[in-house]
Structure formats: structure tokens, C-alpha cells
Symmetry: C2
Subunit: 638 residues, 2 copies
């Protein structure tokens, strides 16, 4: 893959894009007048609207489509819950300290930065131009500025070593990262000093709940735990039917060591998580898998990465499950559904891949995990995780609390039979089994009729029977498949993927455009009067009212700027359509409709223009259709 | 007002209602399997859907209707911001401790509980039956169980004293509450001991941001501060036009001393807040005030309360502003808009009043404040605050940071004139004014042409001029009118206001119904097949698909329970409409449509049934209309 490009294949200048996104208030650093806090961002009006539209689609695509049970749980979480889930012990990143200036460094990022910088120095020494280099697709973080890099040629073997380390950078633990730092003599460029060995830093924000600080607590690092704790109630709500999924949309919190990359690594972020509960028996089949089996995915499996490579394979999810690349149908079903969702909201399909986690990289609860990664100017970024958490969470919470977080299978149809009844002699039974009595009794009660008949015979013949108490057939702890979406990262990737620039006709500087699909665009229609003339006002009011009653968001720009300037502003805001009210409108009630991407315009009656807008926003037509149906219009340059 | 009643005037049994709401997962205590944490609740599927619908309407009613600028700011807030805003010093409740058992008591609630309990004891001694008593509308908290109350008659004068204290309970500070406790010898009923004098307890949750705990922070207690800090960017985004409003929907956090009353007093809650920025000059007029001036409100002003009374007046907001009851048009405009919103979502109009804050009760930033209070089984509950925060917040943040949180008025239309230019002699000017130079220069530049001409003459005549530097005419700090909605409280009131019970025809126990308006109901349509017969399935699938494409939420209940049971379940979930698929449907493609509130049914073709549903959900028709248009149906009792 070459240098990051815009939607139209132009080289992408991230600084120019970021400055535009901030100027238009898609997002802005929080508390900026107080000099800000790293890793905290606010969304302004277009960012909020984009986020609301993406969330709305997410809810329709996942929650409504499959009758998932939505929950809204608290972010405040008592420490005990997160101790049980393992987060208090294990939810940490590796952190080094520079002994000279006290700088705190995230160990994996530090190793990555140093090696990448050396590789760039090597390329420079070999005379490869940095700007045109083939970019390493495994590189996940923003390139350091190239200035200050020493052009030092490395041995070919060393280059290969570095590249292999980078391909599996997420697979090292703290000790290993420390060894790499020592072995390759990595120094903090700021001070020239080797940082201290990595120590674990827990990423959760701590607080205390109650007036006398009696309950230590954390802000949740994921929405999942709230869903697990409600499992028994959800199963009851779902009338005991399995499988089912819960879903939750809400803020989570991670106290990142050194946030960077704008919206890509933040300390407070919106997540949308699904917990799909499934019987682990029977290979985790999914009864809608057939609907998605032909969806093609770009896959980077863990074996490839462990071999120090980043080659991807494109295959249908049906094939990937069949040949074992993806473990089971349910996991595969959700990978395909994620792919379809990303396509629907306007993510560039050439910038998506699914990467499997390596063993050490996986979260402490995961049995298998694939990330949907989106390519941005910061390299490949994990935007959706899809983990098989097995029965981990439900089991640990059940064990800790004694709550029955399990399924007691019921027969599909009640049957009426003659059956073997068990008649326990309680007087003998109790003293014999003492505290195990309950379990033994349950195990006996759980015996099938065939078993009972066999045991009855055995008892008669031998005078005793042996029953294994563990194997109660009708109860199981569900496994969990968890698609988990980082909404902020997806939004950022969406902005980059849909960004491009066009030179103005007069040869002015390039102007930014965000070509969001209408369905997610913050505002669908811009209404511009040709001037502030009073005769235009009633038309604006009427059209704006009609659009609102059609559920289509619009905005009037009646500022004194030229029409061109007003359209440019809205190209930057990603508004796909524009209606101009001019003097001809006053005479014959026709209006022009402008397409953001082509800047072409058509002119027709209000009724026809509104109908066209509805079809474009609903996605039943594209601009080319409208251009064929309605008369083209070209405004004379003023 | 008599004892709290249901929608149909039945006495409301809160325990029965709460148990139903939990069973149906409208809400549930968080972390219940870990014994829960007071003041934290999760919303289950119907609660989430109800909340999403109310928020959606809120956004349409306020944000879209008036082109407000929506923001999504972080809950994590550095301490410095909340020091400046005054929250670190002043956002506190008064807390007492029981010296014997260590119980922590919220002082105002403690005083209230004791006095109310004594008043009930007095009534009992006078032979007034407690259940039928006229309820004191100023009572805000849940009644303590009446058992255990001593029937002690009080002097008439003491009764009056107690009632007056209760009417202005929110107006006492900590010292005054301590005096009341001493004066009336109030003891903690748990121990018989007088609690310690009240001390201030700050209600914010504290945490630390960053890896070395370098930035002390809090979870925001309101969304407002994030909006204020973004003021300059919002003004720029709004192309410098005033007035305008920002809006934000998000979680806020308050570490309540002793949460109680279920959803009514919680530690993590969803707020929807508007900050309307307005020029303080000119009486805070609002240009859409005329649209709402005839809206009638029930008002309880501060003078009445200070006189120890709770009499309300009903008047139009036009009159209330005119006679000075409500201070200004902008405040009045929002009170009326709040009233209209509450009516739209289904709040019982006989259970709404607007109560003005008394001086000591107001938040530290407020210049005037009215609460929309909703009557529930816990008495009158503040659900929406509408405060005039004056220029307080913008001023303190501007002062602290030096950021220009102000408006520089521009002329409406550019004009071209011959004008007096100022030509400063910088060599003399700088040394003369030193650090004040900038301010003086700005003041001179701000002089009008008339002033310049006059000064030029004066300078020529006298050789010097005097300019007052403070009075720069074209700059001001906007005032803020803030409608602030506690969504959880509104949801709870909505559930109580729409709840009632009906006896089953067979004389079984009363069955609960939640008669939500269709627009906010969690699910609009229940689809029930008469039985699990396979021939019904294609119809269910088709109708469910069509409803989804119409944007109407539905749910299939194909469980084996009787039709009656399935409808009962959905009456409790507040589902307004039900479609039954039966054998006649298979023959002639007609379906029955059932109305939740009357349990009446009509039968018609799929097309007609779907059209009726659309009209009912959109609110263009009511059930009585549909009953007239479509043939009635009565299912034979099976």
C-alpha cells in the first residue's frame, strides 16, 4: 500500500485535514482554554450529528435487525466487579520512565517508534526517498517527523529483524519489551538515556462511591461487564430462549499512558458493544450464517503475523469458517455483519482488513479475536474488535457471587410419558452426603430415563450405582461472542476516507470536501438564498418546514458570503445537497438542487426537488439518476 | 391534592408498580448480584427504548426546531475548571453523622423526615386516618412507613411551625439545619441519638487523569461547563450571530449522600441541557415569545413559599412575564416550551407545576430559577430546572483563562463612510500607559465617529482628552438561560403517570397497564400468532418487515402462553397496539388490531391495518377514529 491518499487518490495531508475538522467543529480538544488535557475531545455540531447518524444506523443494523436486548448500564463500577473480571489485575499497558527527565513512555510505542525511525534512517542512507516509500502496513502509529532522523545504513539482516519485531509488536509482554530495549540499545531521543524497565500501569480511572468513600470503584473500561451481570434477568426477559444478544451504547474510560493520534487514542470514548450468548455445544452454529456466507473479507491471520509477515488473503466468510481460518459460524457471522455495516456508513472498502490477534496479544478473557482495522494516515487502526470471550466472564461472576449465570435447557415441546421416578431415602441420604447432598440429588434428578432404567437394573443387580455428579446434562454456561465498536475511531476513519480536495475554477487553493454518504452526513440539505432579499424568506421557511416533516435535516445559510463561499463551507461540512432560492424561484417556484461531489445542478419545481432529495437520502437513487430526470442548470458566474 | 393516584384515579401502590417495572426490566439495580450500590440503576430493553424515544423527541422539540448547536463533551473534567466554576467550593449538601452507629444522614432530608413523622403522629392522635389524609404538596420525599409512628398530639402552633419549616426546607443552610435539629430535639430513630452538626459534603466524584496522577479531575456534575468552555468556538461556528443556543445530552455524576427513591435520586444520570446565550441588554427579549405567550402554566412563586405556603396560580406565560412573576421573555419562553414538551411525551398535566427557587436554595451561579416539578408518589419532584445563570460562568472562565468568552457586536450591514482615523504616536504611547496600553488602545479604537470628531475638536482646543477605558460599547458577555432536564426523573414520572390497573374479566388480580402515548412507547406493535402453527410464520415475517421499513418498532411473541397472557405482558410493557395472526388470516389475509387501553379490536386487510398503525403512531388519529372506520372484532373466549 502506498502513502495514505484521499478519496480521489491525492496524497493526504493530515495537518490540513485536522485543521479543517477543527475549524468546522467536527471535534475540538476539550478544555482548550485551560490548555487542554491529552486524550480528551469534544464533538461539535457536525461531529455530534455524524455520531448520532452512525449510532442510529448501528442500532438499526444490529439491534433492531436481530431483536437484541439493549441495556444502558452505569459507568461507575464497584471495584469488586472488576477484580472478579480480572481488570484490576490485568487491564494494563507497559510503561517506562525516562530516569533523566521523568518522561513517561508507553513501552510498545517506544520500541515501535525507535525501530521505525531506524528503518527510515536506513532507507535514507540507501537513497530511498522517504515520501515515496512503500509504507509498512503493519505500522499502526503516526509517523514521527522525518527531520532529525539519522541516515544510518543497517545490515540487511538487522532490517529483517526489525521488520519482524514490528509485525508482531502487539505480542510482546513487558519483560520481552524490556529485553528488546536493552538488546537494541534504545534511548529516549529527548535525553539520549535508556528508559527504565517496563512496569504494568493499570488503565482504569479510580474513584470512590458514597459519602465516606466506602465503596472503591472505577469507571468502566468497557460496557460488557454490565451486560454480563444482567445475564440472568435478560434470559428471563427473553422468556428463556437461547441464543440471544444484548447490546449497549455508552461511554467507557481508559487512562491511556500517552494519548496521541487525535480521536484515535482517547481517554473517554463511545463504545457500542454486543454480547451474543450462545450454547458452546454444537460448534457455535448461527442460523443466519447462510445469509452472509458469500461476504468477502480481507483477512490477516495470526500465523502470518507470527512469521513476521503482513500478507492478507481475501476470501468469503463461508470459506474462512469452512477451512478453519475463522473458528466458528457465530464469530464468522459477526465479522461479515461488521463488514456490511462499515460499507453502509461509507468506510473505504480498500482500507478495511480483519486481523487476528496473536496469543499474547489477546485480552485476558478472549479465546479468539479478530479486529476490523481501518487504514488511516496513522496506519492500520483497530476500530472494531470481535472476540470470542468463551464462558470466561459469566463463569467468574457466577463463581464469585453464586448467581446462576447459566441456562437451564427446557424441552422444546412438553411430553407426556411414563417415567422412572427417583425415590430418595432422605434419612440415609442426608447423613451420607452431607454438604454434597444437594449436588448429588440434582445429579440424580438430572438422569435421563434411559439412564434411570439402566441404573435401576444395576442397582437391583449390584446393590449400588456410581453417578458422576459434574455432568448435569441440562445446564450450561453460555459462551459469548462480542463485537465491540470504538465509535470515535470509526468516525475519524470515516472522515479521512471521505475527504478529498478540489482546486477552485479560478485556481485558488485546494478546497476540502467530505463526501459522506447522505445517510450519515451531518446535515442533508443546505438552503441558500441568493441574497438577503426579503422575497426569498418565505420559500426558505416553507422548504425547511417540509424537509423537517420528511425527517430530513437541513440548515439555512443566509449569511452575506457569496454563494460559492457558502457552498464551500458546506462541502467541508459534508452536506451532500444544496437548494438555492433565487429570483427565478420567486417568479416560477422552481429551485436548483446542487450535488456536493460533482457540483452539478438541476432545476425543477419544489415538489420534484423534494422528491429527488428523499430518494437520494434514502439511497434509492444516486445523483446520476437525478441528472437524467431533471433539467440541468448552470448558474452564470457573477 | 389527595393521595397519589394512577392514570385512572385508583390509589397508586408504589411497591406493586416498582415490582412490575423491575420484572419487565424497565430498570433494575446495577450490580445486583454483587448486592448493588445505592443510587446506581441500569435500564433494560423497554427502559432503553423509552429513554431513546424521549431523547429523540427532545432533540426534535428543542435542538432541531431552533437550530441549536449540539455538543458532546467529556465527563472527565480537570479540577481547575470546576474550581473556577465554583463547584469545588460550593457544590455540596449538608451531612450529619450519627455518633453512635456512624450512620450518615443528609441533613435536610433528616429534618424533613422527623417533622413529617411527627405531623403524621399528630394526625393519628387527632383521629385522622393516615391513608386518607390530604397530602402536603410540599412534601418531596417518599413517606416513611407509617408503622412505628407515635400518635402524639401537637399544639396547633407547633403544627403550623412544622408546616412552615417544611414549605421552605430547601432554603436552610447547614447552620440553620443544625439549629432546627437542636431546637426541636430531633434524634435519629435508629439510635435515639442526636446527630452531629451538619458539615458540607462535596457531591463530585474525584479521580486522577494521566499515568502519574498528574491532573486531578472530577466527573462532571452537569454538562453545562463543557458548553461554556466552547463558547468562543460556537459563536464562530454560528458565524458570530447572536442569540443562539447550544445543547448537550450526556451522563452526569453526583455522589449523593444517601440515595433513595429509586430512579429519582441517583448517582449517575442522563441530562439534557440547553445553554441559551443572550445579550443582557434590552430585557432579554425572545423573538418567538409570541408563539407561546398563551401557554398556561401552574406557578408557585418564591414569595408564597417564604410565607410558608404552597398555593399555586395558573396563568398564561404572557401574563406571568408581563406582571413580573417570571423575570423575562427568554426565561418565560423556555418555561412554556418545557411545558409543551412534557405534555407531548405524556406527562399528566394535572401533575405539573413550576416552582421558583428561594434565594438560599438557588445554585451558586443562578440569578433566577424555576423548576418544573412533577408529582409522584414521592411528592413533588424537580425534573427540569430552568435557571438564569446570568454572565456568571462565562465571566469566571474568561477571567481565569484570559479567553475572550464574549461577543463583539458587528454592524448589521457594512457601510462605506469617510471616517476619522486614529493615529497613535507609539513612541510616546507605550512608555506612558505601559501594561494598560493595549486596553487604552482598544478603547480609543472603539470610539464612534461622532466621539472621534468631538475628541478631535477637544484635542485641538484643550490639548488633551479623557477616555473611559471600561466602557467599550460593542462588547458584552452574554447571559445564559439554562433549561436542564433530568431524563431519568422524567422517565420515572412518565411511568407513574401512565400506570393503572384493570381487573381481569374473570375476576383475577388487578393487571398493570402502562398507557404511554404511542410516540414514546418502547415498542409500538406486538405481533402474536394464535399458536405456534407453521402457517402463521410467513405472515409474521412479512408484517414485521413492513413495519420495520415504516420505521415502526414491533416485536413478535410466539411463546406458548395464551393470547391473553401475551397481551397482558405487553400491557405492562406499554405496547399500544397488537396484531393477531389467526386461522382466518391464513384464509383471507385479514388481521385483528388491538388497542391496549380499551382492549377493543378491529379486523381488516393488512394494508388497512398498517395504515391505521401509521396514523396512530404518528398521532394523526386516535383509536376512536380507527374504531369508526374499521369493522369491530371480538374474539370468542377460548
Amino acid at each position: 500500500m502506498s502513502t495514505t491518499t484521499t478519496l480521489k487518490g491525492q496524497p493526504l495531508d493530515r495537518q490540513v485535514l485536522d485543521s479543517m475538522l477543527r475549524r468546522r467543529m467536527f471535534y475540538t480538544p476539550s478544555f482548550e482554554i485551560y490548555n487542554g488535557v491529552a486524550g480528551l475531545y469534544d464533538y461539535g455540531p457536525p461531529g455530534c450529528a455524524l455520531q448520532a447518524n452512525v449510532i442510529d444506523l448501528w442500532r438499526k443494523h444490529f439491534v433492531l435487525e436481530e431483536d437484541m436486548l439493549e441495556l444502558d448500564c452505569t459507568a461507575l463500577t464497584p471495584a469488586e466487579v472488576l477484580q472478579t473480571s480480572g481488570h484490576v489485575d490485568k487491564f494494563a499497558d507497559w510503561m517506562c520512565k525516562d530516569p533523566k527527565n521523568g518522561d513517561i513512555l508507553r513501552a510498545d510505542h517506544f520500541v515501535e517508534d525507535i525501530l521505525e525511525s531506524r528503518l527510515r534512517g536506513d532507507k535514507e542512507a540507501r537513497g530511498v526517498k522517504i515520501e515515496e516509500e512503500a509504507e509498512d502496513p503493519s505500522k499502526k502509529k503516526k509517523k514521527k517527523k522525518t527531520k532529525g532522523i539519522e541516515a544510518v545504513k543497517l545490515d540487511d539482516a538487522v532490517v529483517r529483524e526489525y521488520e519482524e519485531i514490528l509485525a508482531k509488536i502487539d505480542n510482546y509482554n513487558g519483560e520481552e519489551l524490556g529485553q528488546l530495549i536493552k538488546k537494541y540499545e534504545m534511548k529516549n531521543p529527548e535525553t539520549g538515556v535508556e528508559p527504565s524497565p517496563p512496569v504494568a500501569f493499570n488503565l482504569m480511572f479510580q474513584t470512590a462511591i458514597g459519602p465516606s468513600s466506602n465503596t472503591p470503584g472505577y469507571l468502566r473500561p468497557e460496557t460488557a461487564q454490565g451486560q454480563f451481570l444482567n445475564f440472568a434477568k435478560l434470559l428471563e426477559y427473553n422468556q428463556q430462549q437461547m441464543p440471544f444478544a444484548s447490546a449497549s451504547i455508552g461511554k467507557s474510560y481508559r487512562n491511556e499512558i500517552s494519548p496521541r493520534g487525535g480521536l484515535l487514542r482517547v481517554r473517554e470514548f463511545l463504545m457500542a458493544e454486543i454480547e451474543h450468548f450462545v450454547d458452546p455445544e454444537g460448534g457455535k452454529k448461527h442460523d443466519r450464517f447462510n445469509d452472509v456466507k458469500d461476504v468477502e473479507l480481507v483477512l490477516l491471520n495470526r500465523h502470518t503475523q507470527l512469521a513476521g509477515k503482513t500478507d492478507v488473503e481475501k476470501m468469503s466468510i463461508g470459506k474462512a469458517v469452512e477451512n478453519g481460518t475463522v473458528d466458528n459460524e457465530t464469530l464468522g457471522y459477526f465479522l461479515a455483519r461488521i463488514q456490511l455495516f462499515l460499507a453502509k456508513i461509507g468506510v473505504d472498502q480498500s482500507k478495511v482488513r480483519f486481523r487476528q490477534h496473536m496469543a499474547n496479544e489477546m485480552a485476558h478473557y478472549a479465546a479468539d479475536c479478530w479486529d476490523a482495522e481501518l487504514h488511516t494516515s496513522s496506519g492500520w487502526v483497530e476500530c472494531v474488535g470481535c472476540a470470542d470471550r468463551s464462558a470466561y466472564d459469566l463463569s467468574v461472576h457466577a463463581k464469585k457471587t453464586g448467581a446462576p449465570l447459566m441456562v437451564r435447557q427446557r424441552l422444546d415441546t412438553p411430553i407426556s410419558v411414563q417415567e422412572w421416578q427417583i425415590d430418595l431415602d432422605k434419612k440415609k441420604f442426608g447423613p451420607k452426603f452431607k454438604k454434597d447432598g444437594k449436588a448429588v440429588e440434582a445429579a440424580i434428578e438430572a438422569l435421563s430415563q434411559e439412564q434411570r432404567e439402566a441404573f435401576a437394573k444395576e442397582l437391583k443387580d449390584n446393590g449400588k450405582i456410581v453417578i458422576e455428579v459434574d455432568g448435569i446434562a441440562d445446564e450450561y454456561t453460555p459462551n459469548v461472542i462480542e463485537p465491540s465498536f470504538g465509535i470515535g475511531r470509526i468516525l475519524y476513519a470515516l472522515m479521512e476516507h471521505n475527504y478529498w480536495t478540489r482546486g477552485s475554477e479560478g485556481g485558488d487553493e485546494a478546497r476540502g470536501v467530505l463526501s459522506f454518504p447522505p445517510i450519515v452526513a451531518p446535515t442533508k440539505v443546505l438552503l441558500v438564498p441568493l441574497s438577503s432579499h426579503d422575497s426569498f424568506k418565505p420559500f426558505l421557511k416553507q422548504i425547511s418546514y417540509k424537509l423537517r416533516s420528511m425527517g430530513i435535516s437541513s440548515r439555512i445559510d443566509d449569511s452575506s458570503a457569496s454563494i460559492g463561499k457558502r457552498y464551500s463551507r458546506n462541502d467541508e461540512l459534508g452536506t451532500p445537497l444544496g437548494i438555492t432560492v433565487d429570483f427565478q424561484s420567486v417568479n416560477d417556484s422552481t429551485f436548483t438542487l446542487r450535488d456536493r461531489d460533482s457540483t452539478k445542478q438541476v432545476r425543477a419545481s419544489q415538489e420534484k426537488i423534494l422528491a429527488a432529495i428523499k430518494e437520494l437520502v434514502d439511497g434509492t437513487k444516486v445523483w446520476a439518476d437525478i441528472e437524467k430526470e431533471l433539467p440541468n442548470f448552470r448558474r452564470p458566474r457573477s
